[in-house]
């Protein structure tokens, strides 16, 4: 450990205003200044990395034999590293990087989930506001929301006669239920106090919707949106496997048909990471939008 420099360390006669100034300006080294941040970073990143390494090691040991049914991590790397290293290459209509495929899938999710958000919030507000709408519609929602995404696919294929809108419809119908139900709960839970304030101020329906209802129910609405976006990402992969075309889901199906198991593992990682980012993105937007709404 080095002793900190002090004035007394300077030979006599050398000490003057300039040196004084230099001492005052001396900044702590970056490593010390950001010590807490650096520590927090390692505390957050080391445990998952260690766990990951352990999992890969176990996997490698389990699948190392030449007769193993599944590829080991090293084999995946040697067979499919182009997919990891070049997510955005493009060589033909079906020969492109996984980045492009994920983006295509995301576009479908964006459209389907976008429609589901708007329709879900409006329907949820309606259901939450009205006793009779709750009694009439809630049981139907509760039954329909348990239908698995793929069960809707044949019906939507029959209705739309095209794979693209069918996939989008499956996203829509999968993700709308949690949005409706959570919005309705949020509206029903608007504290009586806020309703009293609105009554004393004589807010009209539209003002009430924008100034009280939406901000008050926002935490619930965003919970619904977060569940919804997770479900739509689940559904798109399954739907694409069946509808074909470009997309991460179809890529997996295609890889399975041509026995490229390593490619499937890489695709799984892409799907997982993308789903994680989607979830965090909605959560982040929610935390911005509901700032203050919880504090009371």
């Amino acid at each position: 450990m080095t002793m900190p420099l002090t004035k007394d360390d300077c030979p006599a006669g050398f000490y003057d205003e300039e040196i004084e100034e230099a001492f005052r300006r001396r900044r702590p080294p970056l490593l010390i200044k950001y010590k807490d941040n650096i520590r927090a970073f390692f505390a957050a990143s080391v445990p998952p990395l260690v766990t990951l390494a352990l999992i890969l090691l176990t996997w490698q040991l389990l699948c190392v034999g030449p007769t193993s049914a599944l590829p080991s991590p090293l084999r995946i790397w040697s067979e499919a590293n182009d997919l990891i290293l070049h997510p955005f290459y493009e060589a033909g209509s079906q020969d492109m990087g996984l980045g492009w495929r994920v983006l295509t899938s995301l576009k479908r999710v964006a459209v389907g989930f976008g429609f589901a958000s708007v329709a879900g919030i409006l329907l949820g507000s309606f259901v939450g506001q009205s006793q009779w709408a709750t009694r009439g519609l809630d049981p139907i929602f509760q039954v329909l929301r348990t239908v698995p995404p793929l069960a809707w696919l044949p019906i939507s294929l029959a209705a739309f006669r095209d794979s693209q809108p069918s996939a989008i419809f499956v996203i829509f119908i999968t993700s709308i239920w949690p949005i409706i139900i959570n919005t309705a709960v949020g509206i029903r839970n608007i504290p009586q106090d806020y309703r009293n304030v609105a009554a004393v101020l004589r807010l009209n329906q539209i003002e009430f919707f924008w100034k009280i209802m939406v901000p008050s129910a926002a935490p619930y609405i965003f919970t619904g949106l977060r569940i919804g976006v997770g479900l739509s990402w689940l559904a798109i992969v399954a739907a694409e496997m069946l509808t074909g075309g470009v997309g991460i889901g179809f890529f997996i199906w295609d890889a399975w048909n041509s026995s490229r198991l390593s490619d499937i593992f890489v695709a799984l990682i892409y799907i997982g990471v993308t789903g994680f980012i989607l979830d965090r993105l909605v959560a982040f937007v929610g935390s911005l939008a509901t700032r203050g709404a919880q504090a009371n």
């Binding site: 009293n196 004393v200 101020l201 004589r202 509901t290």
Partner: protein, 264 residues
């Protein structure tokens, strides 16, 4: 003779199935302009229900409320309420909370700049201008209640309704806010109706104290005029004979003649 605010033969019955409870029985009360009236009673005596009826948030089963000889039966900014738990909208800053009321009440009669001034003026009245950009979650309970008072005052109500406004505050903050309300009422001459269960608060602030009997079928048991000159000072009053006599009368009513009985 007609009064500024008169509560005429108000009955309130809550019915849940076959279970019928008469909460208020034939309540009559007249409040003159500029008067500060407190309603005091044990919990469960229906005093908050009475205030909600005046506010229009609850409809009386029979009887009615007249304000300047006009019947009022729906809530409105002419009877602004300061709620017990402040009821500020937590996603709006202190300024925005008051501004929402100002925009709604004076949106058609004031220019935008004038509304901003009026909002700031009311925040200054309660000494909250410095925290105007803070959200309710970031300020103390007393400060929240001050913003609540500013919001109510900003509506320029004909009657200011205070529903146990200091009930949720600690004793020191409560005393401070009582002084704030007393000062403002003396300065602005508001007509105020306050619900409380604090005897000292009632005597200190009121021109008249309305004492309610125990529920069910609660009604006004007695009213007491408080003959203390304004401005009042809580320290000087602590030894004032008239103050102590008023206090004794209220205590006697509450603890001797209408003692609180556990709900059977």
């Amino acid at each position: 003779m007609s009064s500024y605010l008169s509560i005429e033969n108000v009955d309130m019955v809550f019915a849940r199935g076959a279970n019928v409870t008469k909460v208020l029985d034939n309540v009559c009360l007249r409040v003159e302009k500029g008067q500060f009236v407190s309603i005091i009673g044990h919990s469960g005596c229906g005093k908050s229900t009475l205030l909600n009826i005046v506010a229009g948030l609850v409809k009386a089963t029979s009887g009615g409320v007249l304000l300047e000889d006009r019947e009022v039966n729906a809530p409105g900014p002419d009877r602004a309420v300061v709620f017990q738990n402040h009821s500020l909208l937590p996603w709006l800053s202190a300024y925005e909370n008051v501004r929402l009321a100002v925009d709604k009440v004076f949106g058609k009669t004031m220019t935008r700049a004038r509304r901003h001034e009026w909002t700031m003026h009311n925040l200054e009245l309660v000494q909250m201008a410095h925290a105007k950009d803070k959200r309710p979650g970031e300020i103390s309970g007393g400060m929240k209640q001050r913003v609540g008072i500013a919001r109510a005052l900003a509506m320029q109500p004909k009657v200011l309704l205070l529903d146990e406004p200091f009930g949720a505050l600690d004793a020191l903050t409560r005393a401070h806010l009582q002084d704030v309300v007393m000062r403002l009422q003396e300065r602005l001459g508001n007509t105020v109706m306050m619900i409380t269960h604090d005897v000292d608060e009632a005597v200190l602030l009121s021109d008249r104290i309305v004492m309610m009997t125990n529920g069910p079928q609660a009604t006004i048991g007695e009213t007491l005029d408080v003959p203390l000159k304004r401005p009042r000072d809580r320290i000087a009053l602590a030894t004032d004979a008239a103050y102590l006599e008023c206090r004794r009368r209220v205590l006697q009513f509450l603890y001797e003649r209408h003692r609180y009985v556990e709900a059977a």
